[in-house]
Symmetry: none
Subunit: 407 residues, 2 copies
């Protein structure tokens, strides 16, 4: 029997639906991989009595509970107080936690508001979990059957704290039989396309097959129980990946983590020592934004219309052949930018088509490489936001395919 784990999210913004609780799902994915059975997610608001009741319930029901939220400096952040009352503990001032918070504000050249002092009060006997990503320290404590860990609710603080401060300690606290998760990441195929392509592959009963259609990719997930032979695992992964062809940009798991599409491109660009200049239209800055911090991205530009772009760059090619215009723009931009690669994204369709989720637009992507042009055209529908995201990813994917072919 795996140890059981529950998640508990605190915040009025969660129970009133202002914020979708993504922490519970993220933590549960981690927990399943580690070898826990996740039994329940609960969210409650800012009512002290509700919090106390819930903490007591969980303490006699689960082996482990990861709690998020309610550690902030304001009066509606009640988790620590609730823990003290639920478990009959005093709150004590933690000087080290306070010193870290002072340092946090000093680094930002800001005075620490008096309200933050309360964040340094922790239940007696709790293990402090330092927060290197924000102000609120977390803490962990055993009560009855359950080991509780309390983390901030902001995902950018919660996730690294879980990974760095909690995850490494779990194997010594619990008898875990971690499963192996293999994730096949694709761009350009829908979930049902993938299901159809792999439908002929028999999946052994012990292996769990799942799909996750995210904003940035579609992931096909295979969860193997502990002790599943590595060679058989590899055979199954290969049989799943084969019919997905070069839509696959990464296969993660079992010690290999490539990250998202940009991380894969980043690795290849650094390895091959290349630079890039970009013209965006539909993606309107999102492509550049996704490549945050990349050394190889020299410049990007967005112009509201192809006409403005042609005018600015003195492009004389006109007419219906959008791909020819994109090629001319790429060639001109290589000269101006000095970049090894130039990626140009144009599209046909007007403002109405762009904003109407029922209408499609056509994307024309051109990549100017060391060996001429690579091109790709895609039809994209959905909301303006979806078209923007797809446009950024599909343009980047043209670069990824080129880089992987060369590698």
């Amino acid at each position: 029997m795996n140890p059981t784990l529950e998640t508990f999210s605190q915040g009025e913004e969660i129970v009133t639906g202002q914020t979708v609780d993504t922490n519970a799902a993220w933590l549960s994915q981690q927990a399943v991989q580690l070898g826990f059975t996740v039994t329940r997610h609960t969210a409650v608001g800012d009512k002290l009595d509700d919090l106390i009741t819930l903490l007591q319930e969980i303490s006699s029901r689960a082996d482990c509970c990861i709690c998020t939220g309610g550690l902030g400096p304001t009066t509606d952040d009640l988790t620590t107080e609730a823990v003290a009352q639920a478990f009959g503990l005093q709150l004590v001032f933690d000087a080290a936690a306070f010193a870290r918070m002072q340092q946090f504000f000093a680094n930002r050249n800001k005075p620490m508001p008096e309200a933050n002092r309360k964040q340094a009060m922790l239940p007696e006997g709790a293990l402090r979990l330092d927060n290197d990503w924000g102000t609120a320290p977390g803490f962990a404590i055993q009560h009855n059957r359950c080991w509780f860990a309390f983390l901030p609710g902001v995902p950018s603080e919660m996730r690294p704290m879980f990974l760095e401060k909690i995850l490494p300690t779990l194997p010594e606290r619990f008898a875990l039989r971690p499963a192996t998760l293999i994730t096949v990441k694709t761009i350009g195929l829908g979930e049902s396309d993938i299901q159809q392509r792999i439908s002929a592959v028999p999946i052994p009963q012990q292996v769990q097959l799942g799909f996750r259609a995210g904003l940035n990719d579609v992931q096909t997930k295979l969860l193997f129980p502990q002790g599943y032979p590595a060679a058989e695992r590899q055979t199954l992964v290969d049989r799943i990946a084969a019919p997905l062809g070069d839509y696959v940009f990464a296969i993660d798991g079992a010690g290999c983590e490539s990250g998202d599409l940009v991380a894969v491109i980043d690795g290849l660009m650094m390895q091959q020592g290349k630079t890039l200049a970009v013209v965006e239209t539909v993606s309107q800055g999102l492509l550049a934004g996704l490549c945050l911090g990349a050394n190889w991205l020299l410049e990007t530009r967005y112009e509201q219309s192809i006409e403005r772009l042609r005018h600015k760059l003195n492009i004389t090619v006109t007419g219906d052949d959008v791909m020819a215009q994109a090629q001319a723009i790429a060639a001109t931009l290589r000269q101006g930018s000095g970049a090894d690669y130039v990626l140009v994204q144009l599209y046909t369709g007007d403002k109405n088509q762009f904003n109407d989720r029922d209408q499609a637009i056509v994307l024309y992507d051109v990549l100017l490489t060391e060996s001429g042009f690579k091109t790709a055209a895609h039809t994209v529908a959905g909301s303006g936001k979806r078209k923007q995201t797809q446009a950024a990813l599909l343009a980047l994917d043209l670069l990824r395919r080129h880089l992987q072919q060369k590698a």
Copy 2:
């Protein structure tokens, strides 16, 4: 006292984190507007005993519970069975539900799989909720204190079923007093800064004060009970907003919805008939990306370094005065772009400072307007991603302040 409402989501894909539970948040938003107090969200997997326990708990705790998921035809869809066992009821065949399901498949020229027959079995005494958007009928039933409604988990079926089959019946089942939510939206102040600034304002006990620090703004929320006098409400909102000064970019609620920072800017730019050109550095395309679909954004560019930018635009101003360089860039870009306003964002700090979450960088924003330059400098720390977001928002906020001053 408002009636209390809980949500309950069933499914292994929810508790294992494969699917983020968006149903709970969506239903809660609806419920809060209707005048319920949402007290708890719970999600459990496909274990019959867990489901039975949970249903019994909720039946004696909440006034209303909206349950989603577990109504499908497969063996891991256990909600109906759990209801029967938890509440001591027989399952009875519902001929009308069965006929509708047969019709659903007939309309699609598909044979109805035998497994679907189980979906026509409903607990005795339950009110059937017809599903015009899929196969699984829902149902509603009172047990102990709580009125339960059971809906499919697929949002595209759940949402219209809630809106058409459940929502209209709620006012006759519950004494609902819809509340009024006012949201004061700010950029540039932290949650604890805000709390300190408004600490002198007395908040009447009936009014609920809350905060939400999102990625794009910090929201101060005031929830007024039904019947709270409008004039007194306005007075309190004014007293809260006053010490927040021009950090406030919008006050939403009571019929007024301005949306986010970009929506506010969009309204003002359209109204004043202006256009914009932008140079991004730290925000690296994100600023442009946030303005998706805006007619007034003529062009944006990102260059990897100030040196590249100076070279491209033939800017001769150099030296330590970054603001002077930004002004020169803005002036040159206005000529080249023909835009009414030019927003230039530069920064000092190197790659290490940018990527190190403990180190700060200084942003220099310049807005060239019809009446000269507006400038703002900000110190920003945190992860690269956070610096990027803050840089985009703070630059846009300089434009917002100018537009609101003029309006």
